[in-house]
Amino acid sequence: MALHKPLVWLPACHRHLDLSDPGGYTVLADRYAQAVTELGLQPVLFPMAGAGDVPDLLALVDGVLLTGSPSNVDATHFGASALPTDLLDPRRDALTMALVRAALAAGTPLFGVCRGLQEINVAMGGSLYQQVHAEAGMLDHREPESEDLAEQFATRHDVLLAPGSAFAQWAGATQVKVNSLHGQGIKRLGEGLVAEAHAPDGLIEGVRVEKAQAFAFGVQWHPEWQHASNPFYARTLEAFAQACREHCRRRRSG
């Protein structure tokens, strides 16, 4: 069955396409699916899946990748209130809160990017700054207002990587430059998470799940962006892919 690739579940977002189109759509930014495909894995998504479907569906996949999104995690999940300016996606929140916990319990490889990192943190009981840039002493982590995606996704600031951490191994250093395109950010770290990458202003940008049975990391930056030409991003994604391949072998032999 070598033709069958390990399956990576990418929970989708829900939105209208534009103001003149009131229909509901399930959407996924293609760069995540493309990165997963380029790693030799097969992206899969389950439209309309809710928290109750997680146990059945998780058993069918070899990894979970939580993507970034235009929407923010609803602050009610960490005991605050959403800002009037927040774009919310309650169906995604409901799915991913359950999915993070279930993936960790089942030992399914889990990787969170941007909103995905924030989801891991909130699902583990942590909280978020709703606007990092409004906090005294913090950098503005948002992308520049530009038409040019390459400029928006350009490396923007350093992150300091814990010596001996997987992050430091992937970077081959304890400091590396990353892109930065976010307004929310980790405030209180969730239980069982270890902060292993920090921005110069102290913001937690990379976490590991402490007692994970498989790969379980989250990053605030976007390693899927032009990962092939960035060795740090490439090694991060390859480590996730390797974990998915191992999970796939176990699942099929078991």
Binding site: L3, G23, T26, A29, D30, Q34, P47
Partner: protein, 258 residues
């Protein structure tokens, strides 16, 4: 391989691709699925699944993972090159979808996987099997209005717009239990030459093919120009059509599990 839950049929919903504003307001490519079709599958007890950006070379092994295929409508048209024509007007195309859906139609029929197509999905079935399409019914000036008014609210766009007549004694007449019924109509392409191997099952008053199936009725492979997935709970004929697809997917699951 155990993607199918072995309890509930998984149905591959073929996705579309659109350029949308990304999380930072800039246009980027997205995989998109209309939720009407997937919600209908869920309501009918099937598990929708999508394989975003599946490379065309991996369509065949991926088809092993499912018990049915659903190809829904889209704002985009099938590229006329697939039926040997140049585009007559600047249209919106989705060539990445064509690249997956056309081989998928042929494979599903070859392997006996139930297949249902609505609107663009029905065009894909016809074109994949060698048929051709009218590129613009508006330009053709058909006596029946087959297209929606973009100014109308969505409910109105999906309302019943014209009647179709089932082929007397045909499978659709048997399935729907009536000789004809009113349908929704939101399209500018339409079947011109029906592919060999397909049988027309219903026509509009102007003669346009509105429903067709694979000639061998043991294989569930149907194309509908209208949208039986939209309002299937209020529209008994739509419910019969959707119910037949659901039965075929369950039968496929049963076969696959032996």
């Amino acid at each position: 391989m155990t993607l199918p839950a072995d309890r509930v049929p998984c149905v591959w919903v073929v996705a579309s691709h659109r350029e949308l504003g990304n999380e930072h307001g800039q246009p980027q490519q997205y995989t998109v699925m209309d939720e009407v079709g997937t919600r209908t599958l869920v309501n009918l007890g099937l598990q929708p699944v999508c394989f975003p950006r599946v490379p065309p070379g991996r369509v065949a092994p991926t088809l092993d993972l499912v018990d049915g295929v659903l190809m829904g409508g889209s704002a985009t048209n099938v590229h006329p090159r697939h039926f040997g024509e140049e585009p007559q007007a600047a249209g919106l195309f989705d060539e990445a979808r064509d690249a997956v859906s056309l081989p998928l139609v042929r494979l599903a029929i070859e392997r006996g996987v139930p297949l249902i197509g609505f609107c663009r999905g029905s065009h894909e079935i016809n074109v994949a099997l060698g048929g051709s399409l009218h590129q613009s019914l508006q330009a053709l000036g058909t006596p029946v209005t087959h297209w929606e008014d973009p100014q109308e609210p969505l409910e109105q766009q999906y309302a019943e717009r014209h009647a179709v007549a089932c082929v007397p004694g045909g499978e659709l007449e048997r399935m729907s239990g009536c000789p004809g019924f009113p349908v929704s109509s939101l399209h500018s392409q339409g079947v011109k030459r029906l592919a060999a191997g397909l049988v027309a099952e219903a026509h509009a008053e102007d003669g346009l093919v509105e429903a067709f199936r694979w000639h061998d009725a043991r294989q569930f492979a149907w194309g509908f120009q209208f949208h039986p997935e939209w309002g299937h709970q209020q529209h008994p004929r739509y419910a019969k059509i959707m119910g037949s697809f659901v039965e075929a997917c369950w039968a496929r699951l049963g076969q696959r599990l032996g």
